[in-house]
Subunit: 257 residues, 2 copies
């Protein structure tokens, strides 16, 4: 950040540029710096860390957020981060914010989540990055409690600074502000989706499948994101992109030849 | 695995069911068990851990691999793993193999890679899983050296067993078999893509972008996958799906409220 200038804040999401959640994030981030929005032109939930290799990407100026440079992008959330840095800003922003997602991204959902993949991409670029998610899937969710805690977290960021190569996965429980107990820094829970597929037939009698399933939390540790959320806390997981299982390096050493 | 029965081996990839790499993998895996193929019907490189939420998924019987139950799937590599378990087999296979990818998936490429995301999905399901990639993007790449080392690794798996919640990211250098020095168990390198976008104009004068860029390896550690590949070894990275940055938990503890 250049001394005396306002911080450049790049905002994206995976629910699309017109989602209520990104509007709520823009609103709470505005007092902290100059806002640049580059977000998908359509819902991109579940896109994970996908990038557009086989398709070209389109960028359209948006007038949705007056006074804010905004662009809708035909690509994925990770494409949005890359375009934001290399085309819109031409430099790395001081801060990357992704969300506020409609629906939680705790536990292993971090891998499927476009919201969190955008934040992880920011971390890969060395940009301090946050992914924010509210545990409410509804399009008309109430983001006011989420905004309250995001304001606190952004103030902490500008006061305390950040660590390189990490981003924060922030989940806010679906509770009125008065019932949220505070903020807990915790670990990604080892929960998973017990998937199943709903098999249907189209108008020609051909099968198709919808992915569905139930979320199963088998992690008994008290210091996980899922546990914190259940207890009524905002969960914050420091998240990185080194997938090496260091604990297993020595086990597999005997496989060397 | 039921005693006396042959192991069930599920095979997928991200280059599509008709790629030369998956044919090479089926060939080398066949002696080890009963093979089930469920792979994308089109190239799905760079799809990361994407799943189909907004679109239904189609499944088509394929006759590409005689004597092997094969299906082409309209979804992503991770969709293929889920459908393989819950629709094709109705149970978890004894082993999941993904690849052989045309192009390497070392370092942070693991996050973008459909090949590796399929293997990680397998690990999330508690299935011993391997992702195999050859450092040669060409459609007509020579997979013979890769097959040699995959045969060795599968034999080791059936001899030594596996660890839960982990998968192996295996990259094979683009070298003739005689020049490959062996197998090294190593860490994911902290390298990254220095991206840029190629801006073009379509027939109506409207802009579009192609994602491009150069890979930059800034990691000086000697025990990384990129280093091993450069030295002429097959790299094996034990890979997990816990993205918690444990090293940063205490740093962010002061953010609690």
């Amino acid at each position: 950040m250049i001394m005396g200038s306002k911080p450049q804040i790049l905002i994206t999401n995976d629910d699309g540029i017109s989602a209520k959640g990104i509007a709520a994030l823009i609103e709470v981030a505005k007092p902290f710096g100059d806002i640049y929005v580059l977000a998908p032109d359509k819902p991109q939930s579940g896109m994970g860390h996908a990038i557009s290799i086989h398709d070209p990407i389109r960028l359209f100026k948006s007038e949705l957020y007056p006074g804010v440079q905004s662009y809708a992008c035909s690509g994925t959330p990770v494409d949005c981060v890359k375009l934001g840095i290399f085309e819109l800003l031409g430099t790395k922003p001081d801060l990357l914010l992704s969300g506020i997602n409609h629906g939680e991204n705790s536990s292993t959902n971090v891998l499927y989540s476009g919201t969190m993949s955008a934040a992880i991409e920011g971390a890969m670029e060395g940009i301090p990055s946050f992914g924010f998610s509210l545990a409410d899937f509804s399009a008309d969710a109430d983001f006011s409690a989420a905004q309250h805690y995001i304001q606190i977290l952004l103030a902490q960021f500008f006061e305390k600074g950040f660590e390189p190569s990490v981003c924060l996965n922030v989940n806010i429980p679906k509770l009125p502000l008065s019932e949220i107990k505070g903020i807990r820094v915790v670990k990604q829970a080892h929960a998973y989706w017990a998937d199943r597929f709903e098999k249907r037939q189209d108008q020609y009698g051909r099968d198709y499948f919808w992915l569905t399933g139930e979320f199963a939390d088998l992690d008994q540790r008290p210091d996980t994101d899922l546990h914190a959320l259940k207890e009524g806390f905002v969960s914050v997981v420091p998240t990185h992109f080194d997938l090496t299982s260091y604990a297993h390096l020595s086990h597999f050493k005997s496989w060397e030849q």
